[in-house]
């Protein structure tokens, strides 16, 4: 009987041991190399698998790609999109687009966790969306969609006992995604309480991290979407061979005009037909953002996590603050005063801590063909961004001097009204 049983279960046991050995071992199995084509594809794919993973990002970022953190704007690929310009004019850098619809500061903080080596002492671009800073901050389901156990495990294996990690753990515990692994959940509770991890927890996290790293190496490259790369290639063909700002600006205006004929908002026809036409007809969107405010939000502290992380890694980062299509903003009733105050608040958080590279476009909402739709830049907007991003990335920059202040993790800062800003500044110096 023993012999027969061995014949039946032998292969099963062997298979189980092999799978576990392959997954849990820290050895890489020749999957380290990623071809240049694959990197080009991944850099513009906006694929959630790439965002959640590590391997492809790591390879590309150490190969001349620069991380462009942000969200849905990256998918607005027209001829002046940063990826298209960089490719067409053979810039020394290529953007690696990180983020898609629904990614906000907290997701980006975790995305940064397993590319720390590629961020340290390097440059990065960060696109801030005012729309993130709503009352409840990041949406739990969107955060869950982009949540990566690998990034959490990696972060927990090198966390330190300070405000940044405690706050991150507390925030993560508020998300249902944190419960996807029972042991990680328990570890998070200890971090949030300021305690160190137990030996067993450390061992588990290390093993889990190895397994997820292997999984990422084996699988994250499978089924990489390629549509965006072909879009970039198509758009590049529309550009003149030699770069000239005035020629491109004119072209941008022309393209914008062609693409936005059917509505009074200068919104691209395609976007308008798909998402807005019906609602505009019924008038349900008129004035619907009258009471919307971007001034009080937990997002401010999530954003602080990102700043804190950049400072720790000494990353030289340039921030983009986009405008809102003014015609649209007036129609929906979104308050102009509030937007100005948002601009002040975010400027204070950035500049008081030494983040002085800011492309503030918030007053450009009325420039024709600057925006491709309601809130996303297009044509001339992308070009304006390029005017600042290109020199920042290609020319030598002064060393940044960051002075991180933990007060930005406090609820008081999250909920600070616009009128109290000056007073707060003086009190908390």
């Amino acid at each position: 009987m023993a012999k027969r049983l061995l014949r039946i279960f032998g292969p099963l046991i062997l298979a189980a041991i092999l799978v576990f050995a392959v997954l849990a071992s820290p050895v890489t199995f020749g999957f380290k190399h990623i071809s240049a084509t694959r990197e080009r594809q991944a850099a513009v794919s906006l694929s959630p698998n790439v965002l959640r993973g590590k391997h492809i990002k790591e390879a590309a970022l150490s190969d001349g790609y620069v991380p462009f953190f942000g969200s849905s704007e990256w998918s607005r690929i027209d001829p002046m999109h940063p990826s298209v310009l960089a490719q067409k004019y053979h810039r020394d850098y290529r953007p690696f687009l990180l983020g898609a619809r629904g990614t906000q500061s907290l997701t980006q903080f975790f995305v940064m966790q397993n590319i720390q080596g590629e961020l340290r002492n390097k440059k990065a671009v960060f696109f801030i969306s005012p729309q993130w800073f709503v009352k409840n901050g990041t949406r739990k389901d969107a955060f869950g969609f982009y949540y990566s156990q690998l990034q959490t495990a990696e972060w927990l294996t090198h966390y330190r006992h300070d405000a940044i990690d405690q706050y991150a753990a507390k925030r993560l515990l508020q998300m249902p995604a944190a419960q996807s692994d029972h042991f990680i959940y328990a570890a998070l509770q200890r971090v949030a309480a300021g305690k160190s991890l137990t030996g067993y927890q450390r061992f588990y996290l290390q093993t889990r991290k190895n397994m997820l790293t292997q999984e990422d190496q084996f699988f994250s490259g499978i089924n990489l979407p390629s549509q965006n790369l072909s879009r970039v290639n198509r758009q590049a063909k529309k550009l003149p061979t030699h770069y000239s700002y005035s020629a491109l600006d004119q072209l941008g205006g022309q393209l914008g005009k062609q693409a936005t004929g059917n509505n009074r908002f200068h919104i691209s026809d395609k976007f308008y037909n798909q998402g807005l036409k019906q609602e505009i007809k019924t008038g349900s969107l008129k004035g619907f953002q009258k009471n919307l405010s971007y001034l009080k939000s937990p997002e401010y502290s999530d954003f602080q996590l990102v700043l804190d992380q950049f400072a720790r890694l000494n990353t030289n980062v340039i921030f983009i603050i986009p405008p809102i299509n003014q015609r649209w903003q007036r129609y929906t009733g979104l308050s102009e005063t509030m937007l100005k105050q948002f601009d002040q608040k975010i400027h204070y958080q950035l500049q008081s801590q030494g983040f002085n590279n800011i492309i503030d476009l918030s007053d450009k909402g009325n420039v024709p063909y600057f925006m491709t739709d309601t809130i996303h830049p297009g044509w001339r907007g992308w070009l304006a961004i390029d005017q600042r991003v290109d020199p920042f990335l290609t020319k030598k920059q002064a060393q940044p001097h960051y002075k991180i202040n933990d007060k930005f993790y406090d609820k008081q800062w999250q909920q600070l009204g616009p009128a109290q800003l000056t007073q707060y500044e003086n009190e908390t110096k």
Binding site: M1, R4, L5, R7, I8, F9, L12, N223
Partner: protein, 402 residues
Amino acid sequence: MLTFEPYGNPTYFALLGVALLPLMIGLLYGKRSRLYETLISIFFLVLTFGGSKWTQGVALIIYILYEVVLTWGYAVYRKNHNSGPFFYLMVILAIAPLTIVKVTPAVENGQASLIGFLGISYLTFRAVQTIMETRDGTLKNYNLMTFLQFMLFFPTISSGPIDRYRRFEADYRSVPDREKYLGMLQKGIRYLFVGFLYKFILAYYFGTILMPKLQLMAMHSRGGFLDLSWPLIGYMYAYSADLFFDFAGYSLFAVGTSYIMGIETPMNFKQPWRSPNIKDFWNRWHITLSFWFRDFIYMRLVFWFMKHKIFKKPTTTANVTYIINMLVMGFWHGVTWYYITYGLFHGVALMVNDMWLRYKKKHRQSVPHNHFTQIFAIFLTANLVCFSFLIFSGILDKVWFQ
């Protein structure tokens, strides 16, 4: 609280392995512990219907109690009486919950019924069959505990295969000898592994990777004749492959697990893609379902029609019954135009198939029969089936009406 899709992830299989180990050792030494079997059954039922799905769990308990009252009550009644109308009433009552569950989404804008739970169809098949066999007199010693075990046998609860009470009872009451059980173990483990290949590799490729892309392409290439396009044809094959590998994979898990528990649950698929005609296809595809329909709908209708001399010709009887049988199957899948069309399509296909076979028999000399015609028959059948799955998939509903 943990909750699992049956056979859905590695943790489920790990738990399954741990739970089955004592049972295996017991069976190898000729012992079957009913208590232990009941306990692990309850454990896996709680895993499937507990946690966030607790409403389904409650629906399951109420449903089971209801069906127990019907089957047990009818078994007691049948000892001394045999009224036709009462029997029909019992069958209608037994089917009533399933009917409500199937009709609710059609009349309530796609809302699922509150009394529904994963696997209600398969449990209904088992209960109705128990009542029918009790009427026939073939099932004499109805036993409440065995009936519960039969209904709630966890490996097959969510999607079959549909076992028969008497067959299950025979296995359940006995212990296979060691030689036989070792053979069953060997088969069981092999089935599980072929199941992994089917469900987690092939069905994943066709269903999760290929199908969404083809669907998107098909939606973009609308506008031609009947909105047909190459991507739509690609979708047809990808969907058929996904349907087969997903369901065959699941069935292999269910049968494999049963074998390890010393129960020879019948197989659900037997190389369906090599069927030379549509009738043979239904002997190889979702076998326990098509045999259930054959035994409890088709045959009974044929007998009833013949007994009451409704149709003159036996071929008419067969044809009408094919259509009714397959239409019922279509409705069972759900009350939507595409499921019903799918049923009708197969009913007609079976009719045409019979006609052709009769014609072939009569003209044996003039109809060639060789290697090539065999291959052609298999090719034709497979494509016809794939086309019927295109209807079944519901993509035409999206392509045409959305």
